[in-house]
Amino acid sequence: MVKQSQFYFSIAAMVSALTFGSLTARADDSSVDKAIKAFGENQVRGYVQPVADIFGANMGAGWYRSAEIPTTGFNFSVDIVGMGALVGDEQKTYTAAAPTGYNPSTFKTATIFGGKGDSVVDNNTKLSYRGSDGAINTSIVPLAALQVNIGSIYGTQFMVRGLPIPSISGSPKVSYWGAGVRHSISQYLGDEPAVHLAMSLTYSRISVGDIITITNFGFGPQISKKFSIAELYGGIGYEKSSMNIKYTPSAGGTPVDITLDGVNKFRGTLGLVLNLAILHIHADANFGSITNFSAGLGFGF
């Protein structure tokens, strides 16, 4: 039954739903949930920081595939967008603080995306302290969204994205949505500008019950130029993402309620779209502290 239901979902939807399934949605019983809840507030930050970094970067990707926005008239498209962020070596380990008094005072150990946890041994007493193993073994973290683009009012287009993530019995409800607005700059540059320019403002949010909330805010200019059916596009952007995580540690103690900022602050995007009548096939790369990619299919005009 599981395979059958997966088949009927789009690949994009499955990527997201199952990624969240692995990360959080099976939270009540999952290995990942147990791994996270083993930490107290002071230790968990470094372990889960890459989740904020990677999901934040993914959520800011794939919002546009052209800077051309009609000035007026009805235009509408639906895009299926898949995003994938690379999990680099820097996301697999972090420098953890050893308990007070240890010599050395820090040690490198696995993040949630790492391998085996490492230990630190105090040089004087030979007491030792260990970090947990990484929970998720992957080189890329995918995310997907269905996006609706609608316009135009004075060269302004509105975007809404999200993903219907099915409820899993006994697991927290997972939701993913986003909204944005883009405005044509090239409309002010004459009737036939050499390139198209636009500015965008986007916001998206993922929540997993009341355990995890990740938000991403993005702002920046885009540029594109058509060459027959092909269109090169790119852009730069400022972004801010954050992840709030709440839980009660499995060993008891003070409930954890922390917010972590994603590492990506700026991104550069370079991509190509093929415009085949109402079908638009696009792919782009996003460069910043986290490298990620997006690709998708758009239907519309």
Partner: protein, 191 residues
């Protein structure tokens, strides 16, 4: 190219077998509540004696019961509680696992107020206030033996720990005391 292959592999996995990239084994480190022996210093002669017996298994969160893979001690602390009179406090800490012989794992001596800091004084950086006792090496060896047994068989029963503190402090009419705390960390399989 590697990225494309990874992405393609993930998609294939999703369509055919589902996405399951959870590490196995996944051993998490659990910082357990400390085993603490606390006692009140007798106002009359300034002596104190405190003892506690804890089955380590009771410190393990229920979701990890019978899934342990290792055990270690990551800190030992001595703390003065209550009002801190002038004068020296000194004593020893003893540990017994199950019915094993008792081991003196530490000694401590210093101004009472020096032990009155938040979280107490650690063996790790005591500045000479807390020192390893003659049984410390045997204590660590015993922990290593328990840990090795857990690594080979997660059903290994954890022993009870008896922690005893004894010593003397300044005779004083105020209420104050001494706590010895041992901090254990367990490795547990989260799969």
């Amino acid at each position: 190219m590697k990225t494309k292959l990874a992405l393609a592999a993930c998609v294939v996995l999703l369509v055919t077998a589902g996405f399951d990239c959870i590490n196995s084994p996944l051993n998490v480190a659990l910082n357990l509540d400390p085993v603490a022996a606390c006692s009140t210093v007798s106002p009359g002669n300034g002596s104190f004696f405190g003892s506690t017996n804890v089955n380590l298994a009771t410190l393990i969160p229920s979701s990890f019961t019978n899934n342990l893979r290792g055990l270690r001690v990551y800190d030992i602390r001595v703390q003065a509680t209550g009002q801190y009179p002038n004068g020296v406090v000194s004593g020893q800490g003893f540990v017994r696992f199950g019915s094993d012989p008792e081991l003196q794992v530490l000694s401590f001596s210093g101004q009472y107020s020096a032990f009155g800091v938040e979280n107490g004084v650690s063996l790790l950086n005591s500045g000479g206030l807390v020192t390893a006792g003659p049984g410390f090496v045997a204590f660590m060896s015993r922990i290593a033996t328990i840990s090795a047994a857990l690594a080979s068989n997660s059903d290994t029963a954890l022993p009870s720990v008896t922690l005893r503190g004894t010593g003397s402090g300044p005779a004083n009419s105020q209420t104050f005391g001494v706590c010895i705390k041992i901090y254990f960390q367990a490795d547990a399989n989260a799969n």
